[in-house]
Amino acid sequence: MRIKAIFLLFIFSLALFAATKVWDYDRNSHPDGARIIQIVSDGKGGCASVWIDTNDLATIVWLDKKGEVKYEQQVLGMFFSPSLIIHCSKKRLVHFSGVPIPLVVQVDAKGNAKVTGTLNGYLMGVITLPIPSQKIYDKKGFFTANSDTNAIYQTLIRYSHN
């Protein structure tokens, strides 16, 4: 009886300290399905993410702290930089794109995108980097990629630490 009580207390304490789901975002309506390969927190509850479809095209999705889309852009990029997101903050997203040549795209908070190029060459990330760099948490919570075991797509979930 005493052991059972301790066990129940332990389970109860786990429940007390579990994270809370704040929002989720999925691209399940996308006909090709999607898998998340990179998440970069903006530090304020939002994030930018890279989704790979079954046709191997990459899509950049920038979400605000409520999980609403600020910017979405399909890019050709996996061939020159596995780490497509360069920088993400509340005010700014910078990412690589392969359209029409390798270049850098800078997006403001309103979703307006501007292209950066260079003379006599093209811009890319560190091509030998096999795994994209990730930032999956901030002060108030964290992000996960949830896989549906019955489907090929994933869902991006925001949790608060409390």
Binding site: Q73, Q74, L76, S83, I86, H87, R92, V94, F96, V99, P100, P102, V104, V105, Q106, N112, A113, K114, V115, T116, G117, T118, N120, G121, Y122, L123, M124, G125, V126, I127, T128, L129, P130, I131, S133
Partner: protein, 156 residues
């Protein structure tokens, strides 16, 4: 579809501030948080260097990798910056070591009792950071000879 996407863009964002020779290939970039960075550059004959540049793109420090004692440049990893020091892991005389380099280029080597101190085994070159508060770094592939440069951009 991609053409339509490109039309949504307008040119030109960001400003190129400086660039530095990245040899045949740049393998790791880690910013110092103040506009400078350290990076690993490699030649095809397995020669590699760790290069530390300040916010003006001027050389603070560089070290050759001793290929005799260090059979593959992949052993060299930039770990992190702390205040005015750069920390890298390397293999010296067959032993894994961590080297702290101050902004005068002075090296201090740390060895463990088991002679095997460094970053996590799976770290590889995954500790890449390409941005800081004021700008970002990319590698640039030159169209003529396909050699690389590291390029610093400001966001504005």
């Amino acid at each position: 579809m991609f053409s339509a996407g490109l039309l949504c863009y307008s040119v030109i964002a960001a400003t190129e501030l400086w660039s530095y020779d990245g040899w045949e290939q740049i393998r790791q970039i880690v910013p110092d948080g103040k506009g400078g960075c350290a990076f690993v550059r490699v030649e095809s004959n397995d020669v590699a260097e760790v290069v530390w540049l300040d916010k003006k793109g001027e050389l603070v420090y560089k070290t050759d990798v001793n290929v005799t004692n260090n059979p593959s440049p992949i052993n060299v990893k930039i770990l992190f910056f702390k205040k005015k020091s750069l920390f890298i892991s390397d293999v010296k005389n067959g032993e894994n070591v961590v080297i702290e380099i101050d902004d005068n280029g002075q090296e201090t080597t740390t060895q463990s009792a088991g002679n095997n101190v460094g970053g996590p085994w799976l770290m590889g070159y995954t500790a890449n950071e390409l941005s800081d508060k004021r700008g970002f770094f990319t590698s640039k592939i030159n169209l003529i000879d396909s050699r690389q440069e590291i390029v610093r951009f400001s966001y504005k």
